[in-house]
Structures are given as structure tokens and as C-alpha cells.
Amino acid sequence: MAFWNPRSETLPRPELEALQLRKLRLLVDRTLRDAPWQAERLRAAGITAGQDIASLQDLRRVTPLTREEWMETQLADPPFGAVLAQPRERAMRYHTTSGTSGGRPLAVLDSPKDWEWICEMWCYAFWGFGVRPVDTVFFAFSYGAFVGFWGAHYAAEKLGCLTLAGGNMTTEARVRQIIDTETTVVCSTPTYALRMAQEAEAMGVDLISSPVRRLILSGEPAGSIPATKALIERRWGAAAADTAGMTELGTIFMFECEHQPGGAHIIEDHYLEEVVDPESDEPVGYGEVGERVVTSFGRGFVPVIRYRTRDLVCRVQASDCGCGRTFDIYAGGIRGRVDDMKVIRGTNVYLRAIEQIVRRRSEIDEFRVRLYTVDGIRDEIEVSVERSDEAHGPEVDAWLSALGRELSSAHEGLRIEVALAEQGSLPRFELKAKRLVDEREVWGAPAGTAQTPPQEGSR
């Protein structure tokens, strides 16, 4: 059976939306009863009972919740803010966002039932990508407060897989254990999948002939960047699937199925996902890029209604995939963040677009993008790349120039300096990669003042 929940994953669209409407009304009733902070927002929109929601579109009357508002209540009423719908003594899990933005992480709680639901969402992904009880699943994950792959770990256990917790290990030790245990499925960030492949090569380990057949990626948008994904699949000799979730939801909201349609299915029987114009908040249509606004039906401890994610996505119909699911797809996964876009001398620059070009060259092991200001007024962009071999001389200079031209051509002729970094000099990442360093000076601020880092998004 290809589906974890065949009934809901193949519901005809009208029935799926009827199910969502019913779940939405129940969520509204529960929120009004148990979660005063979130209820205030509903009442402000004139919603005083679930029955006030006549259609899914009615939810648009509710002003979206922002990460900043969530953080404000957490700071005002630490450690969780006013978001909890139940007393904390009923919780059994504590988790936080990753903290990679440099700011204070958001903290959340879950009950046993919510935690099971969190694992349940991962089961959709694992089963949908062909993971079965006979598999051996290795998690290259640090098992800390960040929720990351925690839910996935328990999902693998629920499926009956042999589940290997790869926390507190060096990369070499992880590669060794993957080989020694005849692991068939590896879970990691896209960046770390590449890091392990590099390490395996250095160790003389041939991953392609290993039993690993599937990689479940999460934590970074790169899992859906075609060039990066192709590179990971080539280096491992295995199929890679993208997933994405958020600590604010506790788990994933989308997964890539075995058909690999170039995107990920939204788990629509548990979420209501809207895509809106980030400026006007008006909904955008199929095939248009906009910002995700999410409502979660499953996690009762922290009701999430119309949460503004800042994730950029492009929704397409389920029929774009031949798997038979009726869950719509985010084509290309998470396409970036609303606040990821950098403007360099009038040209929009996205890290994702740069990665797509850089990763076409398999000889590049690592890269970093640095934005800086010259003479206090002119913004510049530099891409440093680390090669996997030790080639030098004119051939390398020509190669770097060619890469610079490709990057420039993809950015309206913007001059992009490409520099060769020494092998091993660029940082490696286990969790969320931070390859963009913004050192630009802000006009009117002291020289060297960095710009505000972007908030965390889907993992």
C-alpha cells in the first residue's frame, strides 16, 4: 500500500475541503474555550463560535499571527507566553526552535496525544517515500531541545523500523555506523548529507554500493533545489525526499512522495495552508509564488490559527503528481523566505538561486556568500567556493570566471565576485546551514553594523 492513510490521502477535493471545514470549526470552538490569547484574535474578527465559519474562506477575516507577536508574548510571560491551551503539568515534551537566527528561540510544549500526532505526520512522509518496517533508519541529528528529527525518530519506531539515534557522534563515526549497521534510510539536513558524503569519500567508503537507498531531508530548503538534490542523490546513489516542518507546528506539514514530482505534498487533512501575497495579504492562485499562512488542526496544546510563516511557496494542483494523492503540492518545496531576498545595487538576490548554480558543479564542496559595503555606499557580493580537488593555475582561474559569468547572467548582469577558498576553510554545518554572511553597513548606523538576521522558518 502506497499511502499511510489511504482514505484521507485520496479524498476527492470537495470532501477534503468539507473535512477541513469541520476540523476548522472544532479548532475554533476549542480555541475559544481553552486559549484566551488566540481567542482574542478570533473574536476581533467577529468569530464567537465554530459555526460562524461558513466556509474555509471565512478564516481570512482573522488577522494572521506573526512570529514577532508570538515572541512578544513569550518575552512578556516566559517561558512559553500566553499560547498554551492547557496547564503545563499536562505536557510531556519541551522543544524549541533551532536558534539559528541568533535570537531567542520559541519554546513549546506537547502532551502525549499531541506528540503521537507529531510522529503521525512524519509517518505520512516515511511511508509515502517507501520506508517500510524492514528498513534500518539512521538519524544524523543532535537530539537536543530543537525539535528537528525528534518526531521522525518516533515515527520510524512506530513503523517498526530498526531506528538508530546518531546523536553526539563525529561525522566519521556516523558514516562508519551507517555502513556497519547496513542502514537503508538516512535522515539529515541536505547540507549534512553532502558533508557525510565528503567524509565517506575521505574515508575511502563507497556510499553508492552501500545498502542506503533513501535519504529523508529536512531543515533547509535545499532538499528541493534540483541541483543540490541531484548532487546528494549522485553522491549517495540513493533517492532523496524533501520534507519541511516548523517548531511552531511541532512537525512537518509537507512531504515528497516516491514519485518525486519536483515538490512536496501538503498534508491537507491536518493543515489548512493558504498562499498569500506578502504585501497585500491577498490570496494568490495556483502556480504563483506567495507566502505560506498555516492553520494546524492536530496540535491542541498550542492552537495555531493563520500563522504567518514568511516561507515562499508555489502551490500547484495534486494532479501534477501521478501518485494518486489529492493533496496539493508545493512545487519546488520552500522557495526561500520573504526576508531572504537581498537587494544588491537594485538587483534581487536569493541565496537559493545562487545555490542552484553553484551546486551544478560537483567539484564544489562548500560555498559561502558574503555581502559587504565598499566606501560606505556601494554594496558588493562575493561567492567563495571550496573545491574538492587541489587544482591550481590558469585552469582554475578560467573556471572561476565562468562561474562568475553564470551567476551574473542569472542576476541581470550584476557583478558577482567569485573567490577560491582554501580547502577546509569554510564552515560545515550539521543543522541549518548559514551560508549567507551580510556584513553590509546600514546607512546612518556605525560602520560594520550587521543587518538584522532573518527569522527562522521551515526546517
Binding site: R7, R22, K113, E120
Partner: protein, 73 residues
Amino acid sequence: MTDGPPPGAPDVVPSDAERALVQAYELLVDTLREHADDLPPFAARNAVKAAAALWQVANGLGLDPEHPYELGL
């Protein structure tokens, strides 16, 4: 809940096997509600764990199970 879909629900008709699991969930919840204080810890907490898993079955069938957090769920 086991008599069929709630008002306004799509035509969810659980199979006999699915219905049995939903009934097991309801039995667990009723037992915890009425006898949680009488049960030894090993029985009460294992029942909560089982109910948390079976809640997913009822929810996955679109049967709108309640959220009995007060039972430790």
C-alpha cells in the same frame, strides 16, 4: 462517535476493523475517566500511551475525537 460520521461530516464509513479500534479508544478513555485513580501507575500510564496512539486512528478517520487532556492524554 462510533455510530457514524458527525453532522456535516463527509461520508466516512469506518470498516468493521476500524470501528473496533475506535471503540477500543472510547473504552480506554471511559476507563481512564472513571477509574484512573484506582489504577496502579503501570496500568494508568500504559493506558494513556495506548489511548494517545488510538486517538490517531479516530482522528485519521475524520471522526472528531475529543482532546481529553485532563486524562493525561
